[in-house]
Symmetry: C2
Amino acid sequence: MNDILDRQALWNISYGLYVVSSVSGQKTNGQIVNSVIQVSADPPSIAVSINKNNLTHEYIQESGVLAVSVLEEETPMNLIGLFGFKSGRDVDKMSQVSCRDGQTGCPVVIDSSLCFFEGKVAGSVDCGTHTIFVAEVVGAQVIKEGTPLTYAYYRNVMKGKASKNAPTYKGDTGLQDKPEDKKMEGGMKKYVCNVCGYIYDPEVGDSEGNIEAGTSFEDLPDSWTCPVCGASKDEFSPEE
Amino acid sequence: MNDILDRQALWNISYGLYVVSSVSGQKTNGQIVNSVIQVSADPPSIAVSINKNNLTHEYIQESGVLAVSVLEEETPMNLIGLFGFKSGRDVDKMSQVSCRDGQTGCPVVIDSSLCFFEGKVAGSVDCGTHTIFVAEVVGAQVIKEGTPLTYAYYRNVMKGKASKNAPTYKGDTGLQDKPEDKKMEGGMKKYVCNVCGYIYDPEVGDSEGNIEAGTSFEDLPDSWTCPVCGASKDEFSPEE
């Protein structure tokens, strides 16, 4: 067999969507993760893969504890935007949602969550850009009945995108940084997505959404959505 | 917060269903796994959790290579039965399905598979009953378009059960071994499930399916299914 490495094959792996949170002293943070699995039944243990550049990675290493909240299918885009597209270095994420203090000292996200579990790190393995943390589950609670949000539902039904730090990053969010390099000209204002931080620049337009360069934000059709996170037009604010 | 460990919370983790295969010399084997995740984008790496008692675990340790086939939603129960409920110590599984030799030397299951990827083990972490193997993906191919089989679909639509070696084992397959201890009496014949090996014993009945002790296999309703793997009545053969 010839050597073939078609990365699309990896897109068929099925995932849920979770908020993984941790703590460091008085500071707390959390982020969206899709790569959570149970790895042992007795004692119950789970594994999560976290990008080394993320603040949550730093906190898990420092405290040795983490919590996982399983998101429901009805999770609003702005919660995914907050935990998936913003950094805890810029925003105090936990102050913007309902949280509990877990028994490990870890903050636990309750908003839009069907259940949560928290654990103590029992091992880890270096995977290049990411670390897998293995945690023995020491606490777990069901909050309510419901359908867990899957990554497939988020992509196919909610039309959401992947953060560039996701292990499954599909390379389709490259527009995120480009418009910031452009100067505003001709008096048309740039607009910022409140969900993921993407900036709509009228001088650039949005080729993915078939929006020609020179189209003002006001002239975008109401059906237009953020090319990065899928947020609707009313999630945008004028750039300051 | 009081210490609470409700394992049902862990049942909300979303998974796909895969055949993970490996090789040792001339011998090959594979097994059903639900715990597969991509853990890094560059180089592409995946992680799988495998029970230490399984033959596939032994082969992965010996050869340092593994392949993952992503099963389609239409996967028949007997393929899941073969790879999920039978041991490679008893059956030459790979001889019963369409396979390819992968570029790592690993056999790759093609039947009922949307795609496959294979890799070289780059790290591992001991998780008690299981080992997580991290593999750098060196080959990957899409076989066909389709919907990946999820663990939720397998349980909720196909009414399948978990093998007792699964990390997510729910403890509902305890009937699997019990009937073998019973003697056949009164002339009523025992029947064996071709999918998972469960034995229906008329002297015991099937409490999960509301079948009273003393009910012959012939008198079971046509809607009755195997309490272990969900196979239909016509998947059963008289015990020899």
